[in-house]
Each structure stands twice: as structure tokens, then as C-alpha cells.
Symmetry: C2
Subunit: 418 residues, 2 copies
């Protein structure tokens, strides 16, 4: 399979891009190579697709179901009772809906953490994107529950081996306040043995930090350090409350952090994410949307704008986090964190890319394309998406999108009513 | 002229809405009245259109032209030298582009402040929206300049009398740090005599407040109070830095405040806008995008999300500024502040409305339409727009949009190059 993209803007110049198999083979001018398919890039700008490094994709089913509520009543009254009723089919259609939303807004790779991981894998496989999927791992400090969740996790990893190279199992204990130190150490060993990523929530709220100090005698990052589980395989989501020394520990141990500005704001977790400080110290910072239940969409373009704007505002410095920087975070760094050779448009890299339709007010005038993309546009400026060398959206249309919206909608309504 | 909208969702129910002339005449079920035009509302939800109560519409020409810069170098190096070169034609096409963007994202009324107000009026007239237009009024504390700017202002008001009832002249001295107390008092008298609105920037930055205290011996609101110019005709933009007593002064004198979250964040002016405190004290708070130069778009849906999210985050309270509240602010209150009988869908009100296309992931599932609109969607979910009883966008297409984007683009490039 080969694709030739003609006359597309790339870094300010008109180019042709030839894709062979999964990879970008040639970037040049007036390429004449024969290809199975030719895409007209006129009026379009080519960018690498986004990596959404923290979400709970099937939670699209709960979009708008209990907003403007404090965290605990929301979880206890709205989310947990309904999650207990989730079927494989619910998660499958919920994941398809979330992936549809991500494709439509230019994301082709994501890191997930949710129940019924096989159903999510099935959805990822069919939709043509890349999923780094963790199940829901909770031991609640209970020995029996620990055995159970470990066994489930091992079974999930096995189940995901049936899928191709776009789907990767990740070990994902939920958080330090829902899992024992033993479980966390097991997860670290398990990720090492199987050479997989290790994904968890960390330092998301002030309460988590206060409780950690009370219960473990130190802050969350120091606690993980004591357990000996800081490593380059570890990706922590949120990381809002960290001091300079903790940022140093993350940097020295190669841990990555995922910033989720929308959910941090909406749940009022906080806004002073230390993006600049982490980057300066050498921590890899990626970007995520979190689940559609708390963000409430999976649009990485919006996540870029929020991250840049909030970062400027709380520091009272309009020069920090410029558009080009947050764009690199959402594309190149996100893919690096997941270990994907994508996120830049370069020969030899995977053909995971988007054609942006610049024929819209957000891109007029086009003094600065990246600024327009980050500050003026939103994810729905994406026209065409390629992942792994295949076209998965064309002219803003994804195959089967009507059925996905209809089925996911039915699952969602039935779920909260049954 | 009459329009019948069939089978549209309104407040959760399927309704027909009959528009006669400029007004909503009948809302009911299975209406059979004959109309000049029938719109199919299937799959659509009807909402009042938005009022963008603070912008500089022709500044779309400078979209993305100098981002991530501190305020003064940005103004001195990028904006002011280019604004000095603006022609009538530039402002006309820049305004058309901005109005196009507003229509596409559901806004039909706006308050503006910019150079060459007649050119903006011409654009408003042709595009079919409502404009409350102030010229650029600066006396820079100079007597001769004051005479000149007053004369120009009087001429502008005269010029705008040639337009119909959608176009209103507003007196708009830029700010307290660019205009003398004499000019501000003149503006207040002028607005009273002519029964027009009085629009200005106020308390936008900490620096403005510090300087005001130094130079006038008090904070900005107290300074206006001393001048005797607080009145229900006054609309202040930004109002970020105000204490409780100042909020009380605004409330007691019927002054309205416009919150501009995107530009407050991007220029790092600050984020602690006292939305809840003002509303509690009885101040009318409206919402704006500010100019596309600092926000960088004119999307009121995005402005709603930003206002709600930031308000929750800095207060550490996820329950404040719920979606329904900020939606009311962006529609009903915005129109009230401008004195327009619109912003709600009620018989007898002006037919300024949008049909929202809910066939998109942001609205699936539709547990809560207003939550989906505010937190998950963006302005490009708007499918059809009516203003003053006329359809001004249909199926996401505005007549002449290609020419507007092309001409505005040319003006913008020529401007910064000449």
C-alpha cells in the first residue's frame, strides 16, 4: 500500500509526501512516484498527528453526566454505580465513540486506563489507531483483591497479544490511594519483566498529597521513590503537586508526566502545573485530555490552548509556553513517551499525520500557522488522518461514524437507566 | 418575511417555531402556519444566539501576528505601526472576516471598539448582524488631541445614523491611562445626551491599578466614581482587579462588566475574575472574546468554557459557574447589557437564534445538552443562524464567505508588508 500526498503545505513550503507501507518514504517537490492512492493536499497543511497520553476512552458514555459537582458525590452517586453495570458491549461502543472523536480531532495514539480492556482493544483494532491500554487495577489495600487484580491483569495482557502492533498492553494501577505498596511494586516488576509501560495517576490533588504525607510519611513522588519504582517505563498522569526536589527525582529516573489541563480546571484540582520547571529539569512532559467525563472532550487542540494559556496566566508571563513548544509536546514528545516513532514528519518515520483544512476563519490570515492552530482553531479543523500508513479519515468523515454515534448513544442511555 | 422551523429541539422538547418579521411569533407543536420559508430542525437544537460584548473585530487582520510576547513590545513593534497604516478597506474586510467568524460560531450581536468605525458599520450592515460600535477615542491627556477625538467621535455618530436599527453608535474612550478625566466626563455627558452606551477598558491589569493609585490617588472604579460617570449606560471590559467595595459601586450604579477570559489568560493579565462575587452583588456580567489578536478567535462557546473552567479552578470549587449559568451570561445577559430584546427563545422576542447540529461526538451521548455545548463542543457546532428574523447562515455556509476570507487575507498580508 502506498499513498502520495500532492501539493500540501509542510513547514511553510509546498511539498509532496510519499508514504510506502507504514512509513514516510520520501518528502520532496513534484514527486512523480506511482502510488496506490493520491491525496490532493491543496489548501491543506500537513502536521504530525497528536498523542493523547492520558484518557479513559470509554468514559465518553458518561459525557455531561454529572458536571459541576464535587469529586466524591460525583463518583459515588453518578459514576461508580453505573460503572459497576458496564458490559463488554458498552465499553466497546464507548471506546469506539471516543476513538472517533480523537480521529476527528487529529489524534492517532492514546494511553488509556479503564475497565474491560479487551473491548477497548477490539475498538482500537477496528478504528485503525494506536492504543496503549491499561485495565483498571485496584487492590484497595486488600490481599485477596490484590491476587484477583493481578490475575485479571495477567489475563488482560494475554488477551491483548492477539492484536497487531498498534495495540500495547500497559500495567496501570489507578493511584497510590487505591493500591498498596505491594501492588505498586508488583506492577513495576511486571512492567520490567514484560517490557511494557507503567501508567498511573499521581499527585492530582492537594488532598492526595496531604493524605500521603499522613499515611506514608512523605509526598507521592518520594513514596514511589522509596518503593524503588521510579523508572523510564513510568508515566504519571496529572503531577500537579510536586516540589523542586520531586521534579528532580522524576528527571533523574526518566519518569514522564502527562499534563491534563481541562480536567485539572474542571474538577478544580488546581492550575499551577509546573510545565516549564519540569521541562527545564529534563522531565518529558506530554499532554492528555483525561476522560470525556471530566474534560469533557478528547480534543488535543483544545488541550494545547488550555495548557499554554493557563501556564502564562498563573506565572503572569505571556512569553512562556509558546505555541510551537506546546505543539511539540502534543505531537513529538507524546509519541516519544509512548515509544512510537512518529510525531514528526520525517522520512523513515511512521505515517501518522493529519491534513489540516486551513479554509476557515481561524486560519485567516495565516501569518503564523502554528499560532492559528493552537490559539485560534480547534480539533475539528482536521480534514484527513493517516495512521500506520492508512487513511482513517477522509474529508472529515470516518467510515461507520453514524453507527458508532447511534450505538454508543443507546449504550449510554440504557446504562444509566438500567 | 416569515420562517417556520419544524421539529427542532427546544428545552428538551420537540417544537415548531414560527418567525414573522423580526420576531418570534409562535412556539408550539405541529404548527401548520404558512411561511415564506421552512427550515428542517430535525437533529438540531435551537438556542438563542450569543452576544459578544467586547471585541475589536477588524483586529482579525492581526490574528497570530505576534503571539507569546509581552504587551508593550507587542503593541509597539507589531500592532501600533501597522494600525497606523490601516485603510478603510482594510477595516471593512477585517470586520467582515471577524463577523463571518462570529456568525459561524453563533454570535449575532457584538460590542466593538476600533478605528474607522464607518467601515465596520458597513460590514455589519451587509452581514446582517447587530453591531454596537465605538470608534477609537484617545486624547492622551492633550487638549488639542481631545478636541480632535471629540470631533471625530461626533462625526462617527452622524455617519452611523445612515444605517438601520441593527447598528448603534457607542462612545468608547479606550481607557483611563490613555484619556484625561475631562474626556471621560465628556464621554459620559455625550452618552447621556444621545442616549447611547459608553464602553471602555477598565482594571485590566495590576499595572493599571497601581498607576491609577499613584496618579489619581485611588483605584480605577473609585476614580470613575469621583468623576461621576458610573451609570447604567457604562459597560466596562475586563474588570479583573476590583475589590468588594468597587463591586458594590458598580452594582449600585448599574454598571455592566464584560469578562474576557481568553485574552486575560493569553496576555497573562490575570485569572481571578470575580464573576460570582459580581453576580451575587447584582452586577450584570456579560462575556466577550476580546480581539482575535489576543484571544485568538471570536468563538463565544470557547469563551463560555474558559470562563467556567477558570472560575472553578482558582476558587478550588467545581460547583461554581455551572454550564447553565455561563450559557445564560453569554446569551440572555449579554443581550440585556446591550439593550436588545433577544437572548431567550420566547414569543415576542427578536428572532436571533442558532440551530445547533448535535450529530457530532461532542453531543453524544446527549445526557445534558447545555453541558455538552459548554464543555464538550465549540462554536463550529452551529449549523444555521437567524438574526432579526433573517437566515444569515444555512448549513454552516455564509453567503460570500470565500471572498471575505480571500480579501481579508490579502489586506492583512499587504498591511504588514507595506
Amino acid at each position: 500500500m502506498s499513498i502520495l500526498i500532492k501539493n500540501v503545505r509542510l513547514d511553510g513550503h509546498k511539498k509532496d509526501v510519499y508514504v510506502e507501507g507504514k512509513y514516510i518514504k520520501t518528502i520532496g517537490e513534484k514527486l512523480t512516484c506511482l502510488a496506490d492512492e493520491q491525496l490532493d493536499g491543496k489548501g491543506m497543511t500537513l502536521i504530525p498527528s497528536f498523542a493523547n497520553v492520558h484518557t479513559h476512552v470509554a468514559m465518553t458514555l458518561f459525557r455531561g453526566f454529572g458536571d459541576d459537582m464535587p469529586l466524591m458525590p460525583w463518583l459515588q452517586e453518578r459514576i461508580w454505580p453505573n460503572e459497576a453495570k458496564l458490559t463488554d458491549e458498552d465499553v466497546y461502543w464507548g471506546a469506539k465513540l471516543g476513538i472517533l472523536e480523537m480521529i476527528k480531532t487529529g489524534t492517532t495514539a492514546f494511553a488509556d486506563m479503564y475497565h474491560k480492556v479487551s473491548s477497548t482493544a477490539q475498538a482500537v483494532d477496528e478504528m485503525g489507531v494506536r492504543g496503549y491500554l491499561a485495565g483498571a487495577v485496584f487492590d484497595n489495600f486488600d490481599k485477596e483483591a490484590r491476587k484477583k487484580t493481578i490475575a485479571a491483569n495477567e489475563a488482560d495482557m494475554k488477551a491483548l497479544e492477539n492484536y497487531g502492533d498498534r495495540i500495547h498492553f500497559v500495567v496501570g494501577p489507578h493511584a497510590i490511594y487505591t493500591n498498596s505498596g505491594e501492588l505498586l511494586k508488583w506492577a513495576n516488576d511486571f512492567s520490567k519483566e514484560n517490557n511494557i509501560l507503567f501508567n498511573m495517576h499521581l499527585a492530582e490533588t492537594e488532598g492526595e498529597v496531604t493524605n500521603c504525607i499522613k499515611e506514608k510519611g512523605c509526598t507521592p513522588v518520594r513514596y514511589l521513590n522509596k518503593l524503588g519504582i521510579l523508572s523510564p517505563r513510568l508515566i504519571v498522569a496529572h503531577g500537579l503537586y510536586m516540589d523542586e526536589e520531586e521534579i528532580g527525582l522524576l528527571a533523574d529516573n526518566g519518569v514522564s508526566v502527562v499534563h491534563n489541563p481541562a480536567s485539572n480546571l474542571k474538577l478544580a484540582s488546581g492550575l499551577e502545573f509546573k510545565y516549564c520547571e519540569m521541562k527545564k529539569r529534563g522531565v518529558k512532559v506530554a499532554l492528555g485530555t483525561d476522560g470525556a467525563c471530566s474534560s469533557n472532550n478528547l480534543d488535543m487542540v483544545e488541550a494545547m490552548k488550555l495548557a499554554a494559556l493557563i501556564g502564562k496566566a498563573w506565572r503572569k508571563d505571556p512569553e512562556v509556553i509558546p505555541a510551537t513548544d506546546i505543539f511539540k509536546t502534543a505531537t513529538q514528545v507524546g509519541h516519544e513517551v509512548l515509544g512510537i516513532k512518529a510525531g514528526v514528519i520525517t522520512e523513515g518515520y511512521l505515517a501518522d499525520m493529519c491534513l489540516i483544512d486551513t479554509h476557515s476563519p481561524a486560519f485567516v490570515p495565516n501569518h503564523n500557522f502554528i499560532s492559528n492552530l493552537v490559539y485560534a482553531a480547534n480539533g475539528y479543523c482536521v480534514d484527513t488522518v493517516l495512521c500506520n500508513g492508512k487513511v482513517i479519515m477522509r474529508g472529515k468523515h470516518v467510515e461507520g461514524e453514524d453507527e458508532i454515534m447511534e450505538r454508543a448513544s443507546k449504550c449510554a442511555y440504557n446504562l444509566v437507566r438500567r
